[in-house]
Amino acid sequence: MGDPRLEAVLNQLMRFAGGDLAFRGETSGSDDELDAIVVGLNMLADDFLLQQSRSRAAMQDMADLFQRAPVMLFTLDITSGAILRANGAMLDRHGPRESDIVGVGLRDHVDPSCADAFDESFTLLRGGVDIRGHELTLTSHDGNSYVALLSAVVADDSRRRARCTLVDIQEHRQMEAKLLQAQKMEAVGKLAGGVAHDFNNLLTVINNYTSLVRMSVPDDTEVAEDLDCVLEASRKAADLTGQLLAFSRRQVIRPKVLQLNELVARTHRMLARLLGKNIDIGLVLDPVCWATRIDAGQFEQILVNLAVNARDAMPGGGKLMIETSNVVLDDDYVRTHADVESGEYAMLAVSDTGEGMSPEVVARAFEPFFTTKPVGSGTGLGLATCYGIVRQAGGHIWIYSEVGHGTVFKIYLPRAGQPAEDFPEPDAAPPDDLRGTETILLLEDDEQVRAIGARVLGDAGYTVLPASSGAQAKRLFAERAGAVDLLLTDIVLRKTTGHEVADALRVDSPSLRVIYCSGYTDNSIVHQGVLDPDVDFLAKPFLSTDLLGAVRKALDRNT
């Protein structure tokens, strides 16, 4: 035997060699070279164990990340193209068993339409070139195709393996398409709204001058018939601009919190007449359906438009189902539908058993002037109007259709945070006598509309003070201190707004009656199309009777 301390050091080395890294040598306390070797061996073992435990933890982390990553991860033999190892996401999509994937060529999972693109990518990999974000269409084990981005890095340690990721971008692509569609609808809506605004001024002039001429002509003349035709065409044009405004979400509305079932019930009888005997109407109404904030007239317009659409899709008869229910749209739904917020909605579903629509038609169904009906049979504004109304109400409309099987429209209207109000009363009939002798300050910057307004009011006996600007209106008002009974003003003026002028005049005359008039809604008293309460509003284009009725009503009101 040699030096026992040397034997101890050798023993420590042999134990380490045998894998016993927990063993620690003891120093003698003499602080000499042998003690230093023992301390060094002890520290080596400490550090080795520390590194080993860190490596194990890191490997476990990597294995977990690999296995549980939501992205498809796999390694690929770049000689044969076979998948060597795949993670859980890859098994979910292309498994479900490991044997379905491991050893199988990646090309076998590629959609045949993309085989050439895959071959090009694979050639690059074989040449040792990393690839990043190559778009491929693959077919999953359930037979569904999806679009994914393939990236692959050739392993440094060998030229025969590549580490690959597949990122499913199918939902992203669908959302992108929906977003583009929503943006297109927004742009078309702005255009349509602008056109409607200008047309409303022109129609106001055409309507009223034609009416004036018509009143001066005996009924039984050819001229009278011609003028009636002009008035009828003008009325139809006004309907069209109204639909355009609805589509572009600029229709002036007075929404109330209403029960969806009551709205359906009130429209149901009219629908039965509209659809005829060949079409059965079924109602499945959730008795505890939530209330929603919507304009009753607009809701009726939606239901009528959808019903007419369904009727035209069922020329030989069929069944129209109207359902209501409560729905909670969650984050998953929102993720896959553009322009939708999660939350609670009252849902209206209208389905038919008609001929259905192809995906191409569905994609364009809400575009204004898009129609599959024969020329002259439809304006292409019915569904566009529904779309605009639902969006203006903060809701969301969705179509599902299958050719030969029918179509279902689902409309989600946000749940109102308060109980339903009483159903709005129909507008009161205009007063019998539309004439008057009061003084009316008429503020309108469109010269022709101002002229016809002044003429109609003047002919009815009123004293009219026409003004083309806010400044002129204020001057006229000051000159006739106390003599002005009513301000009739356009809302959108060139340098100011009707609202600002009215506020200024009401400083001196708080009881001044005001009627706002517009063919447009982006302004100070109409927010997202919703009128401030207790505001007298006259929509353009108006007829002389509308104008005189509104003026008389405002003047005769007690408060």
């Binding site: 003690d35 230093a36 400490d46």
Partner: protein
């Protein structure tokens, strides 16, 4: 037990920590480590002693005497080369007077690669001279 070679001058303010003593002399922070088995808690104590002496935001020249140390844990060595210590230490000289302390200091330098200049010396004078030579780059 090998005697410590660094002793504080009479006028120096000496901070006693759980890992040893720390004081400032000639612009150099000195530490005399008198723990046989140096662990993380001891190194932290010493670092806190340096902070008490020169403040949180000063990088010091550090002269360490490992005279009393017989072993050092991995954690202790890892902390001594951490970014936290980097904020306190501009450069470090070790006085190693025995094979054991030489091995311990060498392991620290070669395995943990401290992020500041480190050298081993057999005595305090050449160590101080080397640190003073680095003074333009250091702040204390």
């Amino acid at each position: 037990m090998v005697a410590e070679v660094l002793t504080p001058p009479d006028e120096a303010e000496v901070i006693e920590t759980c890992g040893g003593r720390v004081w400032l002399a000639n612009g150099i922070v000195h530490e005399a480590v008198d723990i046989a088995h140096l662990e993380l808690k001891h190194v932290r104590c010493l670092a806190q002693g340096i902070r008490t002496l020169v403040g949180d935001d000063t990088q010091s020249l550090l002269l360490a005497d490992l005279g009393g140390v017989r072993s050092a844990s991995s954690d202790a060595r890892a902390y001594s080369s951490s970014a936290e210590l980097r904020a306190l230490v501009a450069a470090q000289a070790f006085v190693v007077t025995s094979p054991v302390t030489r091995v311990i200091a060498s392991f620290f330098v070669r395995v943990f690669h401290p992020p500041f200049p480190v050298r081993l010396f057999a005595g305090p004078d050449p160590a101080s001279a080397w640190l003073h030579g680095l003074r333009p780059a250091a702040s204390a």
